[in-house]
């Protein structure tokens, strides 16, 4: 069985995927996860989850190419720069 391991670096921070361990059951997975992701003080907590208990979603249908639902290609940086320039010109 494969178990996915998530680790939290500091209290209050989000858990992030650390890697996976192969183990025959949860008990072995705990031992191996502690060993590989916890013994050097690199984590304050771990989540160990059997891979087959995770729901993976990777099909995001966008048949009509409604890219206005997406936020990419929206150059806020440029807009901000222009707005600041306008404000500076006005205040002068």
């Amino acid at each position: 069985m494969v178990f996915e391991v998530f680790r939290q670096e500091r209290k209050g921070q989000p858990f992030q995927h650390a890697g996976s361990v192969a183990a025959p059951n949860l008990e072995f997975a705990e031992a191996y996860a502690r060993e590989q992701y916890g013994r050097r003080g690199e984590s304050v907590a771990l989540w160990v989850v059997p891979r087959d208990q995770l729901l993976e979603i990777d099909d995001f249908v966008d048949e009509l190419e409604r890219n206005y639902h997406r936020v990419d290609g929206y150059p806020l940086k440029e807009k901000l720069k222009e707005a600041r320039a306008r404000a500076a010109a006005r205040d002068r």
Binding site: V21, A22, A23, P24, F28, A31, E35
Partner: protein, 187 residues
């Protein structure tokens, strides 16, 4: 007290060495990492115990670990055996050893000397993971006839300290080779 501490230190050094013989060839990668780490811990415990005794005797941990002739080592026959081709027997030894060691370290935690009691407490915190590891494997293999046979074979050796196996002399040769060939070398 020295003798008892040396007994534990020798056990830990020799067992750590034997267990490290699995590094790179353990049954699977995760176990390789875990078992190698346990081996490293054992050698770390040996060093700390040797240092404690060395302070008292006015010598060094290295001298205690490597400059005594093999017949003066106080380790048990159990830890001397070279088992690196038989995982079942290795786990049988690991479990028998950890169960015995747990009682011994527990008793040391109550020692009058605070340095000894403190070190025992420190060692015990790491040994807790060794025990967890040994017990989970023990449970997993408990129903295997070969494992049961290994337990029967090895159990009488746990505290057998009269005389040594020929395997200790071979290991001693290997273990002390660098020190004997370059006396006084520092790293």
């Amino acid at each position: 007290m020295h003798e008892q501490l040396l007994e534990i230190a020798d056990d830990e050094l020799i067992l750590g060495w034997r267990n490290s013989e699995w590094t790179g060839i353990a049954p699977f990668l995760e176990e390789d990492v875990a078992f190698s780490s346990i081996a490293q811990n054992e050698i770390g415990h040996a060093r700390a115990l040797y240092e404690l005794v060395a302070d008292e005797l006015g010598t060094t941990a290295d001298e205690l670990a490597f400059d005594r002739p093999p017949e003066e080592y106080r380790c048990s026959r159990l830890v001397e055996l070279r088992l690196a081709d038989d995982w079942g027997r290795t786990i049988a030894r690991h479990w028998l050893y950890e169960e015995m060691d747990a009682a011994r370290i527990e008793a040391l935690k109550a020692a009058d000397d605070p340095r000894i009691a403190g070190l025992a407490a420190k060692i015990d915190r790491e040994e807790a993971y060794h025990r967890m590891h040994a017990r989970m494997w023990h449970e997993r293999l408990a129903a295997e006839p070969r494992y049961a046979a290994a337990l029967d074979e090895l159990r009488p050796l746990v505290d057998e300290r009269d005389g040594h196996t020929p395997e200790l002399a071979e290991l001693w040769d290997e273990m002390t080779m660098v020190r004997r060939s370059v006396p006084g070398a520092t790293w």
